[in-house]
């Protein structure tokens, strides 16, 4: 259910595969994150991501376990890219299936907030003028705290 890969993936394929896996669900929510073409530093040429297996996968699995404890989910899928990506490339795919929509929406949102702030990834943005390692934004941390209540 969790895949960290240095190979490009197609969102349409991931959606189709998840739909097959979650046959019988009443609601499926999918989220796809793409490499943004612009940053504060200019046009993005490459986004480079590192992970540390199996610590990265174990952390995501704990977040998936927490989501499954909190909501009634029949299936969860997380695909995350590592390596070099170009603007427009998919970075992350999160899919949740549940009997009803609210659980699927909220669980996907919860998992993305985990992935944006706590997941074990290191991210380097390369523009024409510089390359820099980036950290989560303040709003990413604020989003994450919504689930602490």
């Amino acid at each position: 259910m969790i895949r960290i890969t240095d190979h490009p993936f197609q969102i349409a394929d991931a959606v189709a595969e998840f739909e097959r896996q979650s046959a019988g669900a009443g609601a499926i929510v999918t989220f796809s994150g793409l490499v943004r073409p612009q940053s504060a530093e200019g046009d993005v040429q490459t986004l480079h991501l590192q992970a540390y297996s199996p610590i990265t996968e174990n952390g995501i699995q704990q977040a998936v376990d927490a989501a499954q404890e909190k909501w009634s989910l029949s299936a969860v899928r997380v695909i995350h890219r590592i390596g070099d990506m170009a603007p427009g490339d998919p970075i992350v795919f999160v899919a949740t299936a549940a009997p009803h929509r609210r659980a699927a929406f909220e669980a996907a949102d919860f998992l993305m907030d985990y992935l944006k702030t706590e997941a074990i990834f290191w991210k380097k943005e390369i523009t024409a003028s510089e390359s820099r390692w980036i950290e989560p934004r303040a709003e990413d941390y604020r989003d994450r705290t919504r689930w602490n209540q």
């Binding site: 590192q50 992935l115 702030t117 990834f121 290191w122 991210k123 380097k124 390359s131 980036i134 950290e135």
Partner: protein, 82 residues
């Protein structure tokens, strides 16, 4: 030989993601390993920063944690999010 992994900005400073190196006999734990690598690899204090976590054989540990010459030791700066 131990395997040392450097993630994030540490990999940029070192120029590689990993190295295989014999650990000197006097290095017995993660704290002394940090200090030795920081000095000998030109990290200039970056490895000593409190925000850099260390993992031994894929388990995040607190300094000082015992290390041996067959371990995989990873230095992990703050994560960047996915």
């Amino acid at each position: 030989m131990a395997t040392i992994l450097y993630f994030g900005k540490l990999s940029s400073i070192f120029g590689e993601l990993s190295e295989h190196t014999p650990i000197p006999v006097k290095i017995v734990d993660t704290k002394s390993l940090r200090e030795w690598l920081d000095q000998s690899r030109g990290f200039d204090g970056a490895l000593l920063h409190k925000s850099v976590r260390v993992a031994v054989n894929s388990e995040i540990v607190d300094d000082p944690f015992p290390v041996s010459d067959t371990d995989e030791i990873a230095f992990m700066p703050p994560v960047g999010g996915g």
